[in-house]
């Protein structure tokens, strides 16, 4: 029987990180993944990540995936793909299905990092072709270059629903609505705002009634729900759509752990049944660990750190990593993880109604229900400053929730933006610093929440610089329409500059000229005449 120091199940961010850590310490490591390609969800994630530098913030998911694969290769991790692990036994044996064969493998330690599976919510017509999971949409468009549909209704307003909606727009699809039975948007406000200003409407307290059509989805009916989550008659509305994308949550894929005999607990905050683990991710069976989404749904950045911890712990337990080194490694990882687990979306606070930020500023109600912040709510936040009298350019930071993120502070060469050591604090504009209009903060902001404003560009006109990640890219001189935060047509606008550089990493900077009165409103641009819509 094959024998390894460590076998890792799942080559996603958690599994790869675990393998790198352990192999780096000298262990003989094999990683099994049922997929033909390693990377788990990472290669579908094309947005810039949150967090801080050590969490690889402002790097896109698929690039992080490439880096992990290179690191894994460099330290000699052996990867077996198209290899589904069908059973894990308490005596630390695994059954691996490869093609027609099932082989048995023995390993001194096992780290299970199988990730999550998507939840489904049944509704009339949910089996019709055209109803797909959010993961399927990502797979089709981001891995295979195929548009999942032309007109898509997104069910679910958590981060997955919001991020995938934005990616659908980037792929050239239309998103006709985001509907969610919850009363408030579940994901980050900045993710919601990115799609709201493109004109995607949000329907909170709405449920899907049915998807219908002849052999495939042709239209979708949603309706408003009351406090008891029951449909309010007469509120039905119908959308023409060929695709319903379902993003109603994830569940840990923890079956292998249950079957191995690990103690399991049902923890709704973590997404369902998860193994009971210690601070190293070790289950109650010695030598069997769980890392990443399988031990509680979080994000890729947290999954990578959990993987590192389990990998280091396995190496330490088997004598490959001295105690002192392990202790230092563990503490470093713990600090990094703690940073991510703070703020309004921290694992323990998810789902709880919150009314103000950690700084005591009332949350924008519009942001929570419609996906965009009202202009008159902005002045309460420290990233906003009314400088219409100023003659130079200044940034406006529309980041109003405590999320773990600080690239804005990191990239500014002039010290204009301050987040501080607690990366979930709201970014604060430093009134004394002077902005050079370099645009780095606009491109680096993972939430695309920073805009540059130059109040007196020309007599009667202001210049607004926005992040832009769509094709076709508008060109210098193009005339069109400025859209508001809600995606409403505001006024005529003209593109006076388009910046594209390697350092911007495909977030182009569009500078548009708008009448001065719209300086605090214009947040998006579309080509085409203002008057003719």
């Amino acid at each position: 029987m094959e024998h390894y120091d460590l076998a890792v199940v799942g080559a996603g961010p958690a599994g790869l990180s675990a393998a790198i850590e352990a192999a780096g310490a000298g262990m003989g490591v094999v990683v099994f993944d049922e997929n033909a390609k390693p990377g788990g969800q990472l290669f579908k994630q094309i947005h810039k990540f949150f967090g801080s530098k050590e969490h690889k913030a402002k790097t896109r998911g698929f690039q992080i995936g490439r880096e992990l694969l290179e690191e894994a290769r460099a330290v000699g991790v052996k990867a077996e793909l198209n290899s589904a692990v069908v059973a894990v036994y308490g005596n630390r044996e695994l059954a691996v299905s490869q093609g027609e064969k099932i082989k048995r493998v023995k390993s001194d330690a096992i780290i299970i990092a199988t990730g999550a599976s998507e939840n489904m919510t049944p509704f009339e017509g949910w089996t019709l072709p055209g109803v797909i999971g959010a993961g399927a949409a990502q797979t089709l468009m981001n891995l295979h270059g195929v548009m999942p549909g032309k007109r898509v209704l997104m069910l679910g307003s958590g981060n997955v629903g919001l991020v995938v909606s934005y990616q659908l727009l980037q792929a050239g699809c239309q998103v006709v609505a985001v509907a969610d039975i919850a009363r408030t948007i579940g994901g980050y406000g900045v993710h919601a705002s990115k799609i709201a200003r493109c004109g995607v409407p949000f329907y909170l307290s709405h449920t899907i009634i049915k998807a219908q059509g002849d052999g495939k989805v042709e239209n979708v009916i949603i309706g408003e729900t009351d406090a008891k989550r029951e449909l309010i008659p007469g509120t039905e509305r119908c959308f023409e759509a060929d695709t319903v994308c379902v993003a109603v949550g994830l569940s840990p894929m923890s079956q292998l752990l249950g079957q191995a005999g690990c103690r399991m607990v049902n923890e709704p905050q973590k997404g369902g049944f998860v193994p009971k683990v210690n601070e190293y991710g070790e289950t109650d069976i010695k030598g069997i660990y769980a890392a990443g989404d399988v031990s509680g749904i979080e994000e890729a950045s947290a999954a990578m750190i959990e993987g590192r911890i389990s990998g280091a712990a396995a190496a330490n337990a088997a004598g490959f990593m001295p105690d002192g080194e392990f202790k230092a490694r563990f503490e470093e990882c713990e600090t990094s993880l703690a940073q991510l687990r703070r703020g309004m979306f921290a694992p323990g606070r998810k789902g709880a109604e919150q009314s103000e930020t950690d700084e005591g500023i009332p949350l924008s109600r519009a942001l929570l229900s419609k996906g965009y912040i009202d202009e008159n709510e902005l002045s309460a936040f420290p990233g906003f400053r009314d400088c219409s009298a100023l003659s130079e350019t200044y940034p406006v930071i529309e980041c109003t929730q405590n999320i773990p993120c600080n690239p804005c502070q990191d990239v500014c060469p002039k010290g204009c933006i301050h987040v501080g050591n607690d990366i979930t604090a709201l970014p604060v504009l430093n009134p004394k610093a002077s902005c050079s209009a370099c645009g780095m903060c606009v491109a680096a902001c993972s939430g695309q929440a920073i805009f540059l404003v130059q109040p007196h560009y020309e007599p009667g006109y202001a210049l607004v610089t926005i992040p832009y990640e769509f094709f076709p890219l508008p060109q210098k001189g193009d005339k069109g329409t400025a859209l508001s935060r809600s995606g409403e047509a505001l006024c005529p606008a003209q593109v006076v500059d388009v910046r594209d550089a390697k350092a911007l990493d495909n977030t182009r900077l569009l500078s548009i000229k708008v009448p001065s009165s719209h300086l605090n409103r214009a947040r998006f641009f579309v080509k085409g005449d203002f008057a003719n819509g």
Partner: protein, 111 residues
């Protein structure tokens, strides 16, 4: 419905162009992409009909878990088209229950 150029990912990397048969007609796609991706790009949504209630099914998970996308490929039924790479000349058929023709139909000459 293919993405010609993506604002972040650029021009999708594809294998060489190949032809395949879908229910007897000639279709085109790219080598090594999943059969289901080629079909979706060509506007085909229905992959099979269930045996009991004859309901249409198409892609749902796209990662080989739900089996909604199974079809008959080169004569073999129940092939998960979302994870099976496309090859030149492949014969792909809509699956009815576990066969290639609707109940009561004629199994000959469908290819």
């Amino acid at each position: 419905m293919r993405i010609k150029e993506h604002p972040v990912l650029g021009i999708p990397e594809k294998g060489k162009a190949v032809s395949f048969y879908f229910d007897g007609d000639i279709f085109s796609g790219y080598e090594e992409e999943p059969i289901a991706a080629a079909l979706r790009a060509a506007g085909v949504l229905v992959h099979r009909h269930t045996s009991r209630r004859n309901e249409p099914r198409g892609i749902f998970c796209a990662i080989g878990r739900c089996t909604d996308c199974v079809m008959i490929v080169d004569g073999e039924p129940n092939v998960r088209t979302c994870i099976t790479p496309l090859k030149e000349g492949m014969r792909v058929q809509t699956q009815y229950g576990v066969s290639a023709v609707p109940e009561g139909g004629d199994a000959n000459g469908t290819l």
